[in-house]
């Protein structure tokens, strides 16, 4: 392992400044910051689209937008949140934290790290540009099922396809970097089973990404050739099958949902021990549970297709395999709870987000179990119930963990403590409004309201209005969050190195804010 680090032209002198610093940077902290800002901007853009959706659904009937634009909004909202907000946000956390947590001077392949990021703004531009094209943007849902996305899709779909190619390329390079960093850059003594759980979860996530992003690239490539070059992948007339699309897509799509949530598990596993002032309960079982979830994610994907039609043996297999995921996930929830048990707990802002995560993610997990049961899923499929389910795991799951991570690590990044008062206002505002937003969607879903529909039957009117009000409040809360972020960057109480009384780990041994270069001489880990 390295004991010293060399630099070509030492960065701090003669390095580009201003905008060029950010464009050409090879520093993991700079790149992490870029990722996080990109993710936040995308969160606001995707959130604005969600506001359009909730405004249209505020009342039955068509009043705000026309149906095609409504469908464009649901599609783009999903794509931007998944590929623009959650995934890059998690990669931003990885870039900032992994080298700090394993005692590495930087990521293993710093130039490629820059490229992984700088593809994203171009891909995002390409994706958003489809909104302004003739025929409108993609309107077939974020899952872009054929033949809606092939035979019946607008011309802008080809731009969407290439945007997905670029996003996948970026993710694959980012993941390769994380694997090489974790395997090759750890400080002496930092054995695999001593690594912080956030590093472990990202390490496993990186394998998932490398395995499935190329399959997504394959799926969109098949779409491209079916649309433009006369191939028959998704056309029964030529011997293909539209259902083939769903198989290829969900082979990517199911691991994808764990790609978005495993790093969140890692964040929560860092925050809870700090504020419970106890070591994480069941560290090794957490590692094994994460690996089991990752493995299972590859062999359960067709539970997204119970109503598509498949042999009964297939339905049964995918049902049982799906329900099995509850076991390792429950191990995690149990371990978080057991970590808090008899801990001397305090409730600083990051801890509030983490506890909310444990509660609310578990609700999303339970509704997932309900839909994993094939005969019951026939009722829930494509209703607002599934919308409520995946927003509980993605918003109160992945997004809450990322916001918690911000409150937890921001003092280390900026050198300023985040205002506890503002943080708590942000927390309570968000946690109440998000439940007003999504909890009623369970009811209207069970009552039969379909998803991706701009108009609905009168019986769903009340809860839709409640949901929309919650949505507007939640959206506004994230604008307030922007204010908190900027305020903290500009000033605040100076943070100590350790920041939190109960914090352990290498990142808390360097000063706050973390210097531009850290661990140039590898620390000794006992």
């Amino acid at each position: 392992m390295s004991t010293a680090t060399t630099h070509d032209e030492h960065h701090d002198h003669g390095a580009p400044s201003g905008l060029m610093r950010w464009i050409t940077t090879t520093n993991h902290k700079d790149i992490g910051t870029l990722y996080l800002w990109f993710a936040f901007i995308m969160l606001l853009i995707g959130g604005a689209m969600a506001m359009v959706i909730r405004a249209e659904l505020f009342q039955p009937g068509l009043q705000v937008v026309d149906p095609h634009f409504f469908n464009t909004m649901t599609t783009m909202h999903g794509l931007i949140m998944v590929f623009g907000a959650i995934m890059p946000g998690m990669v931003g956390l990885a870039n900032w934290q992994i080298p700090l947590m394993i005692g590495a001077p930087d990521m293993a392949l710093p130039r490629m790290n820059n490229w992984s990021f700088w593809i994203l703004p171009f891909a995002g531009t390409m994706l958003l540009s489809t909104l302004f094209m003739e025929g409108g943007g993609p309107a077939f849902g974020w899952t872009f099922y054929a033949p809606l996305s092939t035979t019946f899709a607008p011309a802008s779909t080809d731009f969407f396809i290439f945007a997905v190619h670029m996003l996948g390329f970026s993710s694959i390079m980012g993941s390769i970097n994380i694997i090489a960093t974790v395997l090759n850059m750890r400080a002496p003594g930092m054995t695999l089973m001593k690594m912080p759980l956030f590093v472990w979860t990202w390490f496993i996530t990186a394998f998932l990404l490398i395995a499935v992003m190329p399959v997504l690239a394959g799926a969109v490539t098949m779409m491209l050739t079916d649309r433009n070059f006369g191939t028959s992948f998704f056309s029964a007339a030529g011997g293909g099958d539209p259902v083939l699309f769903q198989h290829v897509f969900w082979f990517f799509g199911h691991p994808e949902v764990y790609i978005m949530i495993l790093p969140a598990f890692g964040v929560i596993s860092e925050i809870i021990p700090t504020f419970a002032r106890k070591k994480l309960f069941g560290y090794s079982s957490m590692v094994y549970a994460t690996a089991s979830i990752a493995f299972l994610s590859f062999i359960v994907y067709a539970h997204h297709m119970f109503t598509t039609g498949m042999p009964v043996a297939g339905e049964l297999y995918f049902m049982y395999a799906t329900i099995m995921i509850a076991v390792p996930t429950a191990v995690k929830v149990f371990n978080w709870t057991a970590t808090m048990w008899k801990g001397s707990m305090t409730f600083e802002t990051p801890m509030l987000w983490a506890i909310a995560f444990v509660f609310l993610f578990t609700i999303g997990g339970f509704t997932g179990l309900m839909m994993g049961i094939a005969p019951a899923d026939m009722q829930y499929h494509d209703t607002y119930f599934i919308v409520a389910h995946f927003h509980y795991v993605l918003v109160t799951g992945a997004l809450f963990a990322m916001i918690g991570a911000f409150y937890y690590w921001m003092p280390k990044w900026s050198g300023h403590m985040v205002s506890e008062r503002l943080g708590k206002i942000h927390f309570w505002w968000s946690v109440i409004s998000v439940n007003v937003l999504f909890f009623p969607q369970h009811f209207i879903g069970l009552a039969g309201m379909p998803r991706r529909i701009p108009d609905y039957s009168l019986q769903f009117a009340d809860w839709n209005m409640v949901s929309s009000l919650g949505g507007f409040a939640f959206g506004l809360a994230q604008v307030f969050f922007l204010f908190i972020i900027i305020k903290t960057i500009r000033g605040g109480k100076a943070a100590t190195s350790q920041v939190w009384e109960g914090a352990h780990g290498l990142e808390w041994t360097v000063p706050s804010p973390a210097p531009y270069h850290t661990f140039e001489t590898a620390p000794e880990v006992r």
Binding site: S2, T3, A4, T5, T6, H7, D8, E9, H10, H11, A15, M20, I23, T24, T26, P105, D106, L109, R111, N114, W118, I119, F122, T125, M126, A155, D158, I161, F162, H165, I176, I179, A180, L183, M185, I210, V212, P214, V215, A217, G218, A219, M222, F229, G230, T231, S232, F233, S235, A236, A237, G238, G239, G240, D241, L244, V248, F251, P311, E520
Partner: protein, 287 residues
């Protein structure tokens, strides 16, 4: 701080990634525009920028390598990067092999009435018989001849397998510092690679002009051309990289111990080779 030995090399800020991003954006945006009737100039500009980027970026890496800036730890990072990149390529091909198997195992038999799909066949495609190869119940693309396995494809298999041997022989030459063996081995490998491509091009031409076998010939034409086509693209890339390694070898680059670039390209070449074996068995042979 700037000690030059024993440390992990961290590169200075670089403008090549942003150039690459811009090139990639223009190439793909231009391609999509071109598909919808726009000029092809944007696409060509994007491709040109990417080529400039590749020369610039790899040039930088080669200079750093020659300057001895990469220690063993950096070398390990590179190895992991290349290995996992190849794995991602394997998964890309897996998607297309998956489509082939799905068509052969499920969609075609189902259209012919297998499993519980009797009525699909009776009502929609009563005359369709499920056999492979097929261009589907609507006979998309019309009458065609399927591609046999024992002409050019078998010769191409021998060519690629031999090229795997020659590249290993070249590697042995490099390791015992026998430059002649290294260069001859690489020349043979590059020649075999391009010979493969030439024969493949001839086969495609034959398919299009004599056999009415096209990309649009139903599921058979689709899987045949997409799988062999993407493989051909990878052979082109691999042979080009081997050619670069050949030039570098002639310039005296690489040492007996330190020659990661050579090994990375050799791995890639073996990967392309293995994919071909899968193609030969499942696309050409077992029909």
């Amino acid at each position: 701080m700037s000690s030059s030995n024993g440390g992990y090399y961290l590169p200075a800020p670089s403008h090549w990634p942003i150039v690459g991003s811009l090139g990639m954006f223009l190439l793909l945006f231009g391609f999509a525009s071109y598909l919808h009737g726009s000029t092809s100039l944007i696409m060509i500009a994007g491709a040109a920028i990417i080529i400039v980027m590749l020369f610039g970026w790899f040039g930088t890496v080669i200079n750093e390598s020659l300057a001895g800036k990469y220690n063993n730890q950096v070398d390990v990072s590179f190895r992991m990067g290349m290995a996992w990149f190849i794995f991602s390529e394997v998964m890309f091909f897996a998607a297309f092999f998956g489509a082939l198997f799905y068509a052969r195992m499920y969609s075609v038999p189902w259209l012919g009435g297998a499993s519980n799909n009797v009525m699909t066949n009776e009502l929609l495609w009563p005359t369709f018989e499920a056999i492979w190869p097929t261009n589907g119940p609507a006979a998309v693309g019309g009458e065609y001849h399927p591609m046999g396995a024992w002409g050019i494809p078998a010769i191409n298999t021998l060519i690629l397998l031999s090229s795997g041997v020659t590249v290993t022989w070249a590697h042995w030459g490099l390791k015992k510092d026998d430059r002649t063996q290294l260069i001859l081995g690489l020349m043979a490998t590059v020649a075999l690679g391009f010979l493969f491509l030439g024969l493949q091009a001839y086969e495609y031409h034959h398919a299009y002009t004599e056999m009415n076998l096209k990309l649009s010939t139903g599921m058979y034409g689709t899987t045949f051309f997409m799988l062999t086509g993407f493989h051909g693209l990878h052979v082109t890339l691999g042979a080009t990289m081997l050619f670069v390694i050949l030039i570098r070898s002639m310039k005296g680059h690489f040492t007996e111990e330190h020659h990661f670039a050579f090994e990375a390209v050799a791995w890639y070449w073996h990967f392309v080779d293995v994919v071909w074996l899968g193609l030969f068995v499942f696309v050409y042979w077992l029909v």
